[in-house]
C-alpha cells in the first residue's frame, strides 16, 4: 500500500488525510506536502492518521520536522489517531507528550 494524501480546509485549519504506510520510502512525500503547505502560509495543520496502516521512525521524524516548521510561524500541528498500534509508537518514543493527539476531527478542530 502506497501513501495517499488528501488536503482540505476547515475552521481555519488545513487537514491532511493520510492513508497507507508512512515509512522510509514514503515519508519524504508527506514531508514535501507539509513543506509545500507551510511555504504557502498554511501554519495550522491537522494530520488525520485514521487510515494510516504503518508508521516507523522516519515517519515520526517527518511529523516532528513538520511541528518545528509550523511552530516557527506560531502555528500548530494536531494529530488525529485512534489506533492503539500507532499510539503505542508515540508513547514508546516519548512523542505522545510532544503532539496534541485527538480522537476525531471534531475534537481536533474544537481545541483552540
Amino acid at each position: 500500500m502506497d501513501l495517499s494524501l488528501e488536503t482540505r480546509h476547515a475552521d481555519g485549519h488545513t487537514i491532511i488525510e493520510v492513508g497507507g504506510e508512512i515509512d522510509v520510502y514514503t515519508a519524504p512525500k508527506l514531508r514535501d506536502k507539509i513543506t509545500e503547505l507551510v511555504s504557502n502560509g498554511e501554519y495550522h495543520l491537522v494530520i488525520d492518521m485514521e487510515k494510516v496502516d504503518f508508521l516507523d521512525s522516519t515517519g515520526l521524524g517527518v511529523l516532528v520536522g513538520g511541528l518545528k516548521k509550523v511552530r516557527a510561524h506560531d502555528g500548530s500541528m494536531r494529530l488525529i489517531c485512534n489506533q492503539e498500534r500507532l499510539l503505542k509508537i508515540f508513547r514508546i518514543t516519548g512523542l505522545a507528550k510532544v503532539f496534541a493527539i485527538h480522537s476525531s476531527q471534531a475534537d481536533a478542530l474544537a481545541e483552540h
Partner: protein, 134 residues
Amino acid sequence: MAFGAATAISVAIARDPALVRTVRLVAAAVARRTGQDEEFVEEIRLAVGEACALMVGADTLEPQEQTGPVTVKMALGDRLKVDVVSEGHVRVADEPLSDIDGVEPWALLRGLIEDFAIAQEGSTTRLSMSWPLV
C-alpha cells in the same frame, strides 16, 4: 502450532527504501505462522521494518559504506529470532547529531523490544532481536 529448530527464512534486499515494505510483508507472514495474536504480528512487522529502514537509511551508515545488501534472517524455535545484517559499519549509538528530525534512530527499537542487541562484526553490522513464543 509447533516448529522445528530448522524452520528459517532468509531475505536479502538491495539498499533501496522501496524494498523495506517487502521485508515487512515477509516478517508479518512468518510471525503469523507462530499462531500468536495480531498484536504480536504487528510488533514483528514494526520491529523488522524499523530495523531494515535504519540499516538501509543513509543516516546511520558511514558514507563510504553505503553499498551491499541488507539480509534478514528469521528462525522459529522456542523463540522467534530475527537477525538483520548489513554490509558496512552502521553507527550503533544514538548521537545527538544523528537524530531524524528529533527522533533518535534506535529509540523505537530499544523501547519496543526486550531482547535487542546491535554489534559490529568484521565488515558487517548485526542487529539481533528475539521474542518468546508461548
